[in-house]
Subunit: 366 residues, 2 copies
Amino acid sequence: MAEHSTPTLAESYAKASHRTTGNGQRNVQVLLDAFQEISGDTPSDMYGRGETISKFERKLAEMLGKEAAVFFPSGTMAQQIALRIWSDRKNSRAVAYHPLCHLEIHEQDGLKELHHLEPILLADEERIITLDDVKKMPENIACLLLELPQREIGGELPEYAELEDISAYCREKGIALHLDGARLFEILPYYGKEAAEVCALFDSVYISFYKGIGGIAGAMLLGDADLAEQSKVWKRRHGGDLISLYPYILSSDYYLELRLPKMAQYYEEAKELAALYNAQPAIRTRPEVPVSNMFHLHLDGVLAEAAGPVIAGVQTETGVALAAYLKETGERSCSTEIAIGDLYETVPKDRLRAAIELLGRRLADM
Amino acid sequence: MAEHSTPTLAESYAKASHRTTGNGQRNVQVLLDAFQEISGDTPSDMYGRGETISKFERKLAEMLGKEAAVFFPSGTMAQQIALRIWSDRKNSRAVAYHPLCHLEIHEQDGLKELHHLEPILLADEERIITLDDVKKMPENIACLLLELPQREIGGELPEYAELEDISAYCREKGIALHLDGARLFEILPYYGKEAAEVCALFDSVYISFYKGIGGIAGAMLLGDADLAEQSKVWKRRHGGDLISLYPYILSSDYYLELRLPKMAQYYEEAKELAALYNAQPAIRTRPEVPVSNMFHLHLDGVLAEAAGPVIAGVQTETGVALAAYLKETGERSCSTEIAIGDLYETVPKDRLRAAIELLGRRLADM
């Protein structure tokens, strides 16, 4: 081994025989699997019309208990448009969300540059939004966006009762409540609720088909019929009303059917894996006990450049892939995101335990 | 026959055994054909990165002689963004295009609603833009968009020398010239030019992969490296920077390879078909002699509601599909668009001639 250059974290992750995270490679096989049973004479959707798109929209509207659903190529497009519609309805540019909201940090400020909305940031980067934060919002907020779970801090959730209180408060004040439900299905086992129950607390909902569901791409925006119709106009304006979205629609439906029944399993597995990590003093997870299929792994007091080769070594020696990347989080500490999918159950438990114990020992010795 | 209700134009078109227009049904088979030779382990593009997208972008940049190319889910998105970038560079919101430009009539005013650009309309709905129109533009125009061919008036083109003069004038005046090249490859046989020669007259170019090329969806924006980089930022803002665009990228490449060599054939066939129609006094085409694979069929002095059943009858009786729809064009006249693709050559010439003659006689008798 010493004769060769050490593989990087990503390389050792890719080469390991057993992966603890995700649903597998993002490659063309994902498309081929989804289309293997679909007949070639299935007609394309045509600019948002036709049974191929409208049937899937109706299915999700019913599942989530909303009047109407509109399929979008991306959540970025769907959510900007939802907030814009709420803003226009209330004639106020002010919307509110978390400082680590996708719209704030991952969309090149599309909401501001294209729609000129003025977001107010609630809570802070270290914690989720509480009822207190919501009560302190200015009166002119057109829409409050809540992301469940709050992904960038490991996937944390408010208690369900607090969510109900936030919803009731917003209704009382005439503030639209929008759900960033990119990972909605992943949180239902923890809440012990049906999707429609959670969605009933919100005026509009976005869900993604390529997070836990593991599709190719695609999103759905749900709400009242007026919102749906207006969102189609904005979809056209954004350049998202493609002549054919069926590669995403049909594959989204396929993976939804495949993985919705597995969300409870992913959740239990996330708790199991987090417990294995937390048994090592040099490692902690956030949340300590996951509330969905995801959590963040934190290595305190270690730089990413020092921890990377250690994890890579463990992955190469044990054949168990634990982390594909590390990012610096504050001074002398680093973290990575863990999301449980189909692959976790394929990892032999004894090898997994041995790999994590080896990693824990080596980190403790640093 | 009289016992049954008359099929509509669209129904009779769909049922006919031979179709004169297009490349065939827009259905899932289009995707299955494109992916039959693609290996499942081909990696996905990832948010605009990776060989699957960058290889295709480089290929088109080279083919069209531009510094850089960026794949987009739609032309709507690509062209708004191109005009926005030119507008920002010149610090002027004024852009210029034809009154029947796609951005003006098919995009729900995305250019105005999202980018607040202020288009000036050149020429009029009955004719293409000339050098004279261009010379009369205000000085503050940031970008002139030319659509070649001008689709909504049947696919007309300026003579190449005039195009060169327009390009030279714009360069002299510091006005960016953008090509709406949704049907760029379709006009090369008439001009007798390579794609790169035509594109050299323009500062930025958009091409489509689902018009003559017949892909599923997708577009490319080409220009200098700065424009390409800025367009990626705007693509993210629009919600078009999908985690995976490979269903469109790989199928676009497949159909580009399949149909680029056929563009000269489509052009010759369009001229042949237009001549057959123009031999009937009740029918005329625009252009009279096509300059690409497309033209419009005009029935003067006949309402669409009267002509529709006549065409439907001919299609049902002869099995030759001529037109799928009619639209009113002015008082007591109607038209339809003809675009030649793979199917034209499969229509037996004697049956085609007989069908058009029958249609001509019936229209003349009305």
